[in-house]
Symmetry: C2
Subunit: 537 residues, 2 copies
């Protein structure tokens, strides 16, 4: 894998080139009006010889941790932000004010504990860092304390595989592809493919309750977690490997979603899957959005449990190169390592047709691994897949041509969805009009539940140079207020971090917040872990 960019998504070598950025400028010029922008020069940060301006460090790595520490400007700049829109803007501008003093790269739990001990002794803030792909300010320092960031990526091994129970013990710093490569040797895969897959880690997924590949049943990483080990400032918590238990509140659930505020997740036993052999896919077009939503609901409530049930509205279908004819598209997929899936898909298609859907591609059934790669990833679903993983690169490229581009997501019950969707779309369109003179809002469903969808919104507008952060804050607040008022959650899988904190604080019952604070005081009495995120002391 290439070098990770200091400011942009992913690796430097995959950043869209000038020709791609010019095409993007053409496209967004048409979408947003006012003609294409002229792509300006990119910042030189990713050039190894470039000078990076970093704030003065408040602390230096202690001698005992010298071997696993890096206080260089490049390391500090590369660990300053996640990859949300405000992060890209600040990174692009060379503003690394939030940089850590130094980065620790522990190679063992003992070293993680040593770093936490140092932080407690020094009164430093310690931020756990996996792949650094947070879009909610989840890895960003603030305040006046000394700052260490704990990069877990040197702890990246699959440590043990239990083929009988289909589970694997995996170190938390493993990135998605590295983890799956190691599992593939044993014939398994985790099959957890968030959009950040290539650049995010198991520990990050667990700490933020990442949403993955499966549209139903195993939607969050939570559902794939059998047991975990967490190094808290007070010591180790290790839960027992169990398929399920009824013994008190589930311990793992306290750390799933703890966002690095209660401890550093160092490893987990994860439920793994054999590589699927059979796939059945289809894509369905709808003229009316309401029909498409009804179809998605019918399928979510059918008990068919599709792996993929991704509804794209017409704009989303256009932006992702799935459909150019103004229809909404439902991407349906079933997969199994055990059996062919014709009857499953056939019934799902019937349900879609009941709601005036038209089959655009499929049903495609494949029952060989070789054929499946070719066929199952072709068609509209294949277009989608490529565009899906390219989207974060696209966002960085949009930033580089002065387009304000971001996403937000939620979940709500089906009865509330029509009003929520209308209110959110209206609020964001209005904010885009006010701040950017217009813009585009699109929607897709990433996951569907029997009682509601997880809608995911993308918006685009023109940025005013120098005012991007202010513009973004207005639009983000409008979106978040609308979600909260309509009974959605502030996040289905992007996590809370610092960005969602005001709305999370309102969504979270007050006494539950007190309970969480009590837990925080117990496990992290000095309040060293990820201050400002999720919960305060």
């Amino acid at each position: 894998m290439g070098e990770r960019s200091i400011w942009a998504w992913g690796t430097v070598d995959r950043f869209p080139d000038l020709r791609n950025r010019q095409q993007l400028a053409q496209l967004t010029g048409m979408l947003l009006g006012g003609g294409p922008a002229v792509p300006g020069p990119l910042p030189a940060h990713d050039d190894p010889g470039a000078t990076l301006v970093l704030p003065e460090a408040r602390s230096a790595p202690p001698a005992a941790l010298g071997a696993i520490s890096d206080a260089s400007p490049r390391a500090r700049a590369g660990h300053t932000y996640g990859k949300g829109y405000p992060d890209l803007i600040r990174g692009f501008a060379g503003d690394f004010a939030a940089a850590p003093d130094w980065i620790a790269y522990p190679t063992s739990e003992a070293e993680v504990a040593q770093v936490l001990d140092w932080a407690a002794t020094t009164g430093a803030a310690a931020v756990p860092f996996g792949g650094g792909t947070s879009v909610v300010g989840g890895v960003e320092h603030g305040g006046d304390r000394p700052r260490v960031t704990i990069d877990l990526t040197r702890m990246d091994r699959v440590l043990e595989v239990d083929p009988v129970s289909r589970a694997a013990r995996i170190a938390a710093g493993a990135l998605g592809p590295a983890l799956d490569e190691q599992l593939a040797v044993h014939g398994f895969t985790l099959r957890h493919f968030p959009q950040s897959y290539a650049h995010s880690t198991l520990g990050g997924w667990l700490a933020t309750r990442a949403g993955g590949h499966f549209a139903t049943v195993y939607t969050h990483i939570d559902d794939l977690c059998e047991a975990m080990r967490v190094i808290t400032p007070r010591g180790l918590i290790e839960t027992r490997r169990l398929p399920a238990s009824g013994a008190g509140p589930q311990p793992e659930r306290l750390f799933l979603g703890s966002e690095g505020t209660l401890g550093v997740i160092t490893e987990a036993w994860m439920r793994v899957h054999p590589r699927p052999r059979w796939r059945a896919t289809a894509s369905i077009k709808f003229t009316a959005w309401d029909d498409a939503v009804l179809a998605a609901r019918a399928i979510a409530q059918s008990g068919l449990f599709p792996t993929n049930c991704r509804l794209l509205d017409m704009k989303e279908a256009l932006l992702h190169r799935v459909s150019m004819d103004g229809t909404h598209v439902l991407l349906l997929g079933f997969e199994s390592a055990d059996h062919s899936l014709g009857p499953w898909l056939a019934r799902a298609i019937e349900l879609a047709k009941d709601h005036r859907g038209t089959v655009a591609t499929g049903p495609i059934e494949t029952d060989e691994q070789a054929a499946e790669v070719a066929a199952g990833r072709g068609g509209l679903a294949g277009s989608w897949r490529q565009a899906f993983f390219d989207a974060p690169y696209l966002q960085s490229a949009l930033v580089s041509i002065g387009v304000l581009a971001d996403t937000f997501e939620t979940a709500c019950t089906w009865d509330r969805f029509p009003a929520l969707h209308a209110a959110v779309t209206t609020a964001v369109e209005r904010a885009l009009q006010d701040e950017c003179g217009g813009g585009v809002v699109s929607c897709r469903f990433t996951h569907v539940y029997p009682d509601g969808p997880a809608p995911y919104y993308t918006f685009l507008g023109r940025a005013r140079p120098g005012a991007e952060l202010a513009q973004w804050r207005v639009i983000k607040a409008a979106a978040s207020e609308a979600l909260a008022a309509a009974g959605g959650t502030i996040t289905h899988h992007h996590a809370v971090g610092k960005v969602h904190r005001p709305w999370y604080d309102r969504e979270r019952p007050a006494l539950f917040a007190e309970a969480l604070r009590a837990v925080k005081r117990t496990l992290d009495p000095a309040g060293i872990l990820n201050p400002g995120v999720l919960v305060d002391l």
Copy 2:
């Protein structure tokens, strides 16, 4: 519904009559050797005119709560114990030493709060009580403080139904049948059928993470809970109705399994289902237990998600009148309100045959509601169903003829199951030999997961009059020690209560225990709620 028994399972009118108890004595005489017992007289407790000896009350209901209070001996005796073996023994003997001083029957959340306020002011212990079916000492008072038991069964209404999202807001004191009757008016059912179904409440299920009807996917009540309201001594916690969220640790998960120690669950939004219309069932016989286990594992890992995947070992099959020929039986069932299930069942049967299973009944497919009641509940599954819900009556009847009869359950990963099963069976058989001069241990799987089964054990031995509790304690400890040593959980769905506390304390990571205590101190600072259960101040 008839009058609930003071000492035995269920209602007085359904207690097995003398002829049944004589048959039971014959059967257990054969099973345990030594010939049939002669059924003695039953205690007169259930006779409305009977005198019950209760301990002196330490407190009386305050005048303000007079209208919702009952301090009569019958009410106190009927709320003294759950329905575990030691409860039946003590209740049978007329020992009501653990009786509450009085029972509060709140009809509103405000009244629940009033009772908690009284307890805090008085220094009393308050025990939330649903149907009183705990088998782990979860509703039993102890210690020297004044004692109130809060019976929730007057709060038993389905309060709201959302047919679009398929969810219903239900008061926590609703018993299983009452709740389903009210939902049926709207075409829905909760489809949560623990063995205690007829006599346990929604709130009890939620507080104890009850295991239900579904063998896969929605195994615990946790998975059906969308939102809840809890009255803590500090005030109300209400979570937002959401199909899912990634905003911090899931708040409901702190109260699922809290066993009345953090607050009183007063209502919940529950995910409901339309009544199933299509069913496909089969039963498969196996000569070798190991083959049967492999078949259950293959099906659990297939992604077919059967509703029923209950494996009975030969003794279990015999005791439940499912098979008398010494084979182990796998009961398979699929159900749906949306589609027929032939291909699902066909593949599951193939997997069972791959492991040397022989189809005993089925495949039976039904696609009409009327036909389904007749056919789907016939055959071996029908025998099972009846025996399943009768079993708790049977246990009470066994107690009345001097047979020591109890169950325990766990969950473990598949790789550990063979060793766990051997160790547990050996330990319990040895304890039965030592304590009872012999006995029987049987096993079934109640739920199956991709990474492991939930085995459920039943044991029978001869009780020595007057020594029953001592005998039981030795056997229970032997079973629990064996489970713990083999890496199982102390409970998959019976909860912790007071009975499982020593093993739970060892299973639970020490720092997680500290975190829970911190939560307890926050929400219940005076420690009034269910002292001795789950967690101490």
